[in-house]
Subunit: 117 residues, 2 copies
Amino acid sequence: MISLRLYLSIEPETRIGPGKVRLLEEVGASGSISAAARTLGMTYRRAWELIHHMNEAFGQPIVTGTTGSLGGAELTDVGREIITRYREIEQQALKAAEPHLAALSGHIVAPSGPNDD
Amino acid sequence: MISLRLYLSIEPETRIGPGKVRLLEEVGASGSISAAARTLGMTYRRAWELIHHMNEAFGQPIVTGTTGSLGGAELTDVGREIITRYREIEQQALKAAEPHLAALSGHIVAPSGPNDD
């Protein structure tokens, strides 16, 4: 099965894809970086770094309240806009890609395993 | 400036994106892995590995004639189809993404450099 993954690439070296968008959505839903990290099975430190990297790439906060771990965190308007626009691009791209992905998936030859007799 | 990058993700761990598609296009154009590698500024070994990985992911050759470095190489029908379908997906996704990318790019705050006074 072939699936499509989309990344927003920000020069020089930031990429916002399915993982970071999911993280932003969880922060928005829970109001907490540590809760979001827990839900996604990553460390608080890793989640904080990903968010910090996005804040740096935009030159303004995408998530606020990221300095201490005690207070809550929330998405800024730009943070919310990233999610909305990414999901809209994804939806339209997936619609366009669907027949192509199905056709290409049909060309994958499964290796014959030991139980294939 | 924010741009869009698309990857075809094949379980368990192959991703075909702009770099590999470009490599396939160059192999098709030159009929040679080493010429394609040279054009793209990568080693022959690296190009061979990327192609080998794609062949493995599909369970059939995407590029043939990859065993020796003396003979030429050419795309199989599936190899050509990957290029065509990737570029079609990309074209439609970019069209849908354009206004979103422009809007998000507008939120990037450029850091003020030492010459900004």
